[in-house]
Symmetry: C2
Subunit: 566 residues, 2 copies
């Protein structure tokens, strides 16, 4: 039997990627990356508004054509009998919540002359935190009159999420808000673009985006009710009717590739396009997520994804961003947690605070920092950091927190601080694992994916030592794109040569290839350090917690001295 | 009348300096610097013992000859009628407590073959903290049975001080301790060397060193009594008899220049050598210290010196290192406080955490960091730091504290952190000022000296804004050496053409030349930041203080946002 193929399209923060995958065994034939041309590394920023982060949807369309074309060309070189006509499905994952204001035809407002200079008319990227005051008010109002809305999303509504952004837009950019017929998540807008039907009413919306970011649930009437929204703003309540009332898992077929795109890309109009979802959720599928597996996607920020069968009761998990039926795959609750910055913290450090003696460029600096840090034992730096340079997304759910470094002497050097920053992100990861397990979801294995998991063995060993769990690494280096490709295969379905369900696709197409085992003596030291981390975490992160900080530095020094003594 | 001259010898941590000064007006004719050749920048360190810092007394002797010879040569070039025979006195200031183990002839043990490889036989430099456990035990024992000993030194005995070092030596290097007939502070040993009489029993010891570092006081029988010392260790009690029982202010003449040195240096044997004292204390005199003047010596660490007339009662000041009759000048209590690291923190930062884009060398980096930091308004960085990279010397008196930086985001850059570090040292300075004023010693003016005061106008303005006091800068760039020269002039006395007392010498020989005035809007912002600094300071520094830290980051962000709004 000749193999069939699918395309996974992965829209990240700075670039997008197309990946062509063989259905039989998950072989990744070819991929192509496109860096968004607009703004700073693809992000539109504003010096006067440090929380603002926008994106140009034109970059997505351009990236789509360039990466698929290029990937097909490479696939032909890689496999002699490869025929683009054997591509049967396309799946799309994106960042989110990243809503885009559109007119009644689904056209982005920023494509119109009158709005092209207005940043509010562009995509409000996931990491746009301008709506932090609105987020706090939504949390307050919901905890007063709709506590059930908060229970599903960890108890605190985030400034990264849909309603915070829509409300902020309504308040601070009312001209855009008024002109917008609707707002569409880019995980819905991009697949709709492939199908050639952008009318907001006609697009099958992602339950992943809806459930995790828009307080959408079948336990109530979909989106938050009008009465609640009117309490925030009557204009928001009006908008509700122009958003959506149904939401779908990504196994669902959105439609077929439009004739226009089929021609442009050299593909068939039989190609099935799956409903979109977020990168982390599709990435978890690409990493083989199943009951008992925690998938960690380690990138600029981190997403932690689990699933739990939806025929068993699952209590709400406080401080964990979301529990949404079908958000990862049908038949399971998707559980989403995460850290607001991980790779971003290391990149910030190397860009701003690492002298050139560590290397001529960032790659060299990372390499040398890592090697030097790896030579130090746990506790030896005497340092402790909080991983909050971009706030805290899970447990505290608070963007108005900041980083902290403690324990530096006159001898502390850059690689020690680098190690402390890596450890801080691992402590943050452990805090999430603890919280999930305390709430009755057992974690049997951790599968890691993303660039850091693949490239940074020092980091992976520290994660194993700090969490005291083996860290497996996903076989694929592009798990979000692979996950998207899997959904393309399922959307295409059996009769087209695809799969009937996600599990059977995962079985053939995913796997792990490396594992880091905890080192017992490191585990012991890190247990002590984690206690101190939690003291700082709770002392600085929890209101009304009267924690004395006095012992922190003492114990750090004691641990360091003990380690040095050997 | 032809002018007379004195030589001030200033022994710092990394180098020593000779300064030739005209008695009539304080004109500094010539100076010469000698970098100690032994160890790392003159300090013997030990990789396995991070708290160890020793020094080679041979460097002092070598430096003495080289710098005086060179300075005389330069003085001849600078002033046509300069004649070395018109030099009438020499004063010596050094770091301390920096004791040196010697034999019964005053010969350093490290000069002997059997001890030349033993670091304990060298000078135990002021910043040697190996005796931190001993310091804690001394504090505990004294607070139990001799509380009066502690009252004079701020309530806590430091690991930098004499008894901590002697006891540590006795415990960890007993062969050296046993072989030592006595221990001599280098501020006593160097002038004694100039006079050619090193026998421990014959050296007039400095009341500055004795009172501030050895718990010596005329309110009891000089050094701590034998019974107390025996409680620490019988060997320490035995040593007491071989130390000293009298101590003198630096106006006192120690002796005349020895024939050997006179010949070597081309000076007369009539030259009077003054009793030694510490650099900060003589520096304060060189900066014009008087009732109501706080002199800040801003260097790698900081000393804050005041005087208070000894015919008025002065209550003990808790947490301030010392109040000693005559330690700055006769007739006054000398009050000494200080910060364990100031310039050292900036140097650490530039050496370890500043990328080369700020400059090719440290000078350029400091220049560019300073200029960029100067452009930011108070509060704009969103950062707050604790100035404890080398512990806290005054108020908390605790070397087992460490640095802290808080508030960093993904956008924080090196010059923002540099500014936060400068601010942290200024907050530390204000904490000391507050403590002294709360205890009834009024501060009418602040005179700053040392390299930072002269070169770093950004820092001086921040100090003015944070302390809300005008910051004057001493006219002399070498106030410790100038102070030492003043004591040389007083030791020589009227009949030799010198001065009868310190005040009349100061009147002629010292002055200020620059003043930084507080900027009211900066003062207001810094008042808020100082409150947060104190919250961290007390929360992390005071045991049993149950302080919630929650509001710290919030308020920092609020202040930052407010400032950015304008």
């Amino acid at each position: 039997m000749l193999d069939k193929y699918t395309i996974g399209l992965d829209y990240g923060t700075n670039s997008c990627r197309a990946l062509i995958v063989a259905l039989s065994n998950g072989d990744e034939l070819a991929s192509s990356v496109f860096n968004y041309p607009t703004g700073e590394a693809g992000v539109i920023v504003d010096d006067a508004k440090p929380n603002l982060a926008r994106q140009n949807p034109a970059d997505y369309v351009q990236g789509l054509e360039i990466t698929i074309t290029e990937a097909i060309k490479k696939a032909k070189e890689a496999r002699i009998n490869f025929d683009p006509k054997d591509i049967i499905g396309i799946g799309v994952d994106t960042t989110g919540s990243s809503p885009l204001p559109v007119d009644s035809e689904g056209l982005p407002l920023c494509f119109k002359d009158e709005f092209k200079d207005n940043k509010a008319a562009y995509v409000w990227l996931w990491k746009d935190h301008t709506g932090y005051e609105e987020a706090a008010e939504i949390t307050e109002k919901a905890s007063e009159i709709r506590p059930q809305y908060l229970a599903k999303i960890g108890g605190v509504y985030s400034s990264e999420w849909l309603w915070s952004k829509l409300w902020k837009c309504q308040k601070s950019d009312n001209d855009v808000f008024k002109a917008a017929h609707s707002f569409i998540e880019i995980c819905d807008w991009i697949p709709a673009h492939l199908c050639g039907e952008l009318k907001p009413e006609k697009i099958k919306r992602s339950v992943c985006a809806a459930g995790h970011k828009a307080m959408f649930s079948t336990e109530w009437d979909g989106l938050p009710d009008k009465e609640f929204l009117a309490e925030l703003s009557p204009e928001l309540a009006d908008l509700r009717d122009r958003l959506f009332s149904e939401a779908y898992p990504a196994e669902e077929k959105l439609g077929n590739l439009s004739a226009e795109w089929a021609e442009k890309l050299g593909l068939s109009t039989d190609v099935a396009v799956a409903v979109g979802a977020f990168d982390a959720h599709m990435g978890a599928v690409g990493a083989g997520v199943n009951t008992g597996t925690l998938v960690k996607i380690l990138g600029t920020s981190t997403c932690d994804i689990m699933v739990s069968p939806n025929n068993e009761t699952l209590a709400d998990i406080p401080g964990v961003c979301g529990v949404v039926d079908g958000s990862v795959k049908g038949g399971y609750y998707g559980i989403e947690a995460g850290q607001s910055a991980v790779g971003d913290i290391f990149l910030w450090f190397v860009n701003n605070l690492v002298p050139d003696k560590y290397g001529a460029d960032n790659d060299e600096k990372f390499k040398n920092l890592g090697e030097a840090a790896d030579k130090m034992k746990p506790g030896e730096t005497g340092l402790l950091a909080l991983d909050w340079n971009n706030g805290n997304r899970t447990i505290l759910v608070d963007v108005r927190l900041a980083g902290m470094l403690l324990g530096q002497t006159l001898h502390t050097n850059a690689h020690e601080i680098y190690k402390a920053l890596v450890e801080a992100t691992a402590f943050g990861a452990l805090a999430i694992i603890d919280r999930i397990e305390e709430n009755g979801v057992k974690i049997d294995e951790v599968v890691n994916c993303g660039g850091l998991a693949i490239k940074n063995s020092m980091l992976m060993q520290i994660y194993a030592d700090i969490t005291n769990k083996p860290m497996k690494v996903s076989r694929s280096e592009q798990t979000p794109a692979l996950g998207a490709a899997i959904f393309g295969a399922v959307a295409a379905g059996k009769e087209m040569g695809g799969y009937t369900d996600v599990e059977s696709a995962q079985e053939q197409m995913t796997g792990t290839n490396k594992v880091y085992i905890p080192i017992p003596e490191n585990v012991e030291v890190y247990k002590k350090l984690y206690k101190l981390y939690r003291q700082l975490h709770d002392g600085f992160g929890i209101k009304n917690k009267n924690t004395s900080m006095f012992n922190v530095m003492k114990e750090l020094l004691d641990i360091r001295d003990e380690v040095r003594k050997g």
